[in-house]
């Protein structure tokens, strides 16, 4: 693909104008994701031509339109919440984990916990990146419900975002926030307000707005996730 700058500008212009056929429209939309020059060209054309929208006569929407929109927002947000249970129930994901970095991390934890000065935790969780399965954090919890979250990897957090730590036991209706965590920092928590830890209890870290989820449930993408395993 050897497009000149002018050809790229022309393509961007016809995309914004709307004259490209369906297949080419999709191609441009796709390419914009990875091609900043094309994306900028499209944005400039949007800005140049946008005043033309003021030529159009306003139309009164039907009374049903807004309620219809709201209804579908709700459905979308329930979908987002259920992504938690989607991970939980996805056997392939957990099997894949067992076969990958999970085993290595488990060994690492075993080494850490056999140090005589550390009281042996009753539970441990390896939190991994859902897509790659790379271990990112380790959770250790002791019998007196003291929990330690230890980072294994540096994590970069975009501006005005934060990492939020959550847990959910089987049968709980929603995850409970364990607070915001800082990348690269160990966190110690007392879980005395929560029911006793269970095998398979889910822990996860999501990307949330700067001061944490505004809804009390995870709203952003899951960065790390794992299930508690009992240490014997």
């Amino acid at each position: 693909m050897n497009e000149s700058f002018d050809e790229l500008q022309h393509l961007a212009g016809e995309y914004v104008l709307g004259t490209l056929p369906a297949a080419q429209r999709r191609q441009v939309a796709q390419r914009m994701q990875n091609e900043p020059v094309l994306r900028t060209a499209v944005e400039e054309w949007e800005r140049r031509l946008q005043p033309l929208t003021s030529l159009v006569k306003e139309q009164e929407p039907s009374a049903q339109l807004w309620p219809r929109i709201v209804k579908d927002l709700r459905r979308q947000s329930t979908d987002a919440q259920s992504s938690w249970s989607a991970w939980w129930n996805d056997l392939r994901f957990w099997r894949g984990l067992a076969a990958s970095g999970f085993a290595a991390a488990a060994v690492l934890v075993a080494v850490m916990v056999t140090r005589p000065t550390t009281p042996a935790p009753n539970f441990m969780v390896v939190l991994v990146e859902p897509q790659k399965g790379t271990p990112g954090w380790i959770v250790q919890a002791s019998a007196n419900r003291q929990l330690t979250l230890t980072p294994l990897l540096p994590v970069s957090v975009p501006g005005q975002k934060s990492l939020q730590f959550w847990t959910k036991g089987e049968g709980w209706d929603k995850p409970v926030s364990l607070g915001l965590v800082e990348p690269g920092k160990t966190v110690k928590l007392a879980l005395d307000k929560l029911p006793p830890l269970q095998v398979n209890q889910l822990f996860e870290i999501t990307l949330e707005p700067e001061h944490g989820s505004p809804t009390g449930r995870p709203t952003g993408p899951i960065l790390f996730i794992g299930k508690a395993a009992k240490m014997t």
Binding site: D6, Q9, H10, G13, E14, V16, L17, G18, T19, L20, P21, A22, R25, A29, E43, E46, R47, R48, L49, Q50, P51, L52, T53, S54, L55, V56, K57, E58, Q59, E60, P61, S62, L65, W66, R68, I69, V70, D72, L73, Q76, S77, P209, P214, T215, T219
Partner: protein, 184 residues
């Protein structure tokens, strides 16, 4: 209503949407749904399709609000482009399936031709774009207006202006190049 748009903080409303504030989306809807529906209707030409476009676009604005980047452009422009592209996807996908029935097309052609010219001549609110468009010859100007405002494909422009397809493609291309030079 249009005067208010100077005071309405679209960027803040989009930011609030990204944090899950439905009232913020509703404020955008109250502010702009009439004009957005107008924009969609001109492109898809059927009322129920236009409402579907606005519906889908608002759901999409809600879902994509976090990806809106105020350093790359204004919130209002971003919202309008989501609606326009939703409408354009609808008509371009349909182009491939059926072609508009010709009588309906001819009717629409006459009505819209008047509208485009009238509106363009009456409107002095387009700022720099107005100047730059007025420097184009009418064939290029009408091709661009037909495409942007009425969602015309090259073929539809050719039918509406009663001109060969090859000429229309060249007008659009040269018209865009001239506009870009004129507007920077």
């Amino acid at each position: 209503m249009p005067a208010d748009s100077n005071y309405f903080d679209y960027d803040a409303a989009l930011h609030a949407c990204s944090l899950g504030d439905q009232h913020a989306l509703q404020r955008i809807y109250m502010q702009d749904s009439k004009r957005l529906l107008g924009v969609a209707l001109r492109i898809v030409r059927q009322r129920h399709l236009a409402e579907d476009v606005v519906h889908d676009a608002f759901v999409s604005i809600w879902n994509k609000a976090a990806s809106f980047d105020a350093t790359r452009g204004e919130g209002r422009g971003w919202i309008y482009s989501v609606v326009r592209h939703q409408a354009l996807n609808t008509v371009r996908d349909r182009d491939r399936e059926v072609y508009a029935d010709e009588d309906a097309f001819d009717n629409m052609q006459q009505q819209n031709e008047e509208l485009i010219v009238d509106q363009f001549e009456l409107s002095a609110s387009l700022g720099q774009l107005q100047d730059c468009l007025s420097h184009l010859d009418s064939a290029k100007r009408n091709s661009i207006l037909c495409a942007y405002v009425d969602g015309c494909s090259h073929i539809e422009i050719a039918q509406r202006l009663n001109a060969p397809l090859g000429s229309v493609k060249a007008w659009v291309k040269r018209g865009l190049a001239t506009l870009r030079k004129c507007m920077g």
